[in-house]
Amino acid sequence: MKTVGDKFSEKEEISTKAQWLVYFILLALLVITVGVAYIPLGQFNLIFAITVALIKAALVVWYFMHLRETQRLIGIFFGSSVFMLAVAALLTFTDYFTRS
């Protein structure tokens, strides 16, 4: 009979030290995002802000939410919903962004 503790035998767990480190990285990224917003970079401002937000979200999902220790299938469930959202959003954008 498997107990809940058995899931740890498959993968090395994420340590609290790593989580603290990720936390400070997230704070640093926050400072960077706000700082860069004041630098005129044209279109690149938006791309930069979204990219940093994606990195921060990925850090939270990977290190705080233990996606690594979760079954691969669940990750695919979640990833596919994000993918479907991207498809729906992109198709919406192709409509509105090409209207004159």
């Binding site: 009979m1 005129p40 919903s81 962004f97």
Partner: protein
Amino acid sequence: MNNSVRSENSPTHLQVQYHDALQQHESAVAGMWLFLATEVMFFGGAIAVYIVYWYMYPSIWKEFSAHLDVVLGSINTAVLLTSSLFVALGVHAGERGYMKKVMWYLASSALLGAVFLMIKGYEWYQEYLHGFYPGAWHGGGGELVDRGDLYFRLYFALTGLHALHVIIGIVLLSIIAILARLGRYSKDYYTPIEVSGLYWHFVDIVWIFLFPMLYLVDRTQ
């Protein structure tokens, strides 16, 4: 299926439909991730609307987004990031059976969530005082969108929906913190702690996207 071994040796928290505790745990975690997938759809759709109108009215977006308080927004982001860290540490403690630590970490996170709401409420109040809300301009000429109506409808809808999720998260974390302290969980059964943690992390992630989208539209002079 031989059930007699199961009923004599299985832990009390194990429900009948599961073969073993690990399967039960993984099912619960899968269920929460599935729910979070629906939340991605929910917030993603609303944010997509915001982005479309941003594209259509860039100067208006720049004008009215500038009225949002970047300092308070940044502080709020840091508040939620810290609460997320505490939740992660609380789950870590729960996995090892340190239920007192779980209580402190989760209670602290709930408290930080309340701080977030207070700051947000203060921001909303300031925006109300300055007339930055939908319907603030009664009568008078001009398109509603030019007067910021469209922008602030979306701003209040997005932050309001997010705040509602924060409230739910605070209640959830508080209940789990109390139950942990009352000895309901152990290192063999800490599933509700982990699952509540996942919900809170998602609330944090939504804000991680909302903050730059709302506050950092175009801050260049």
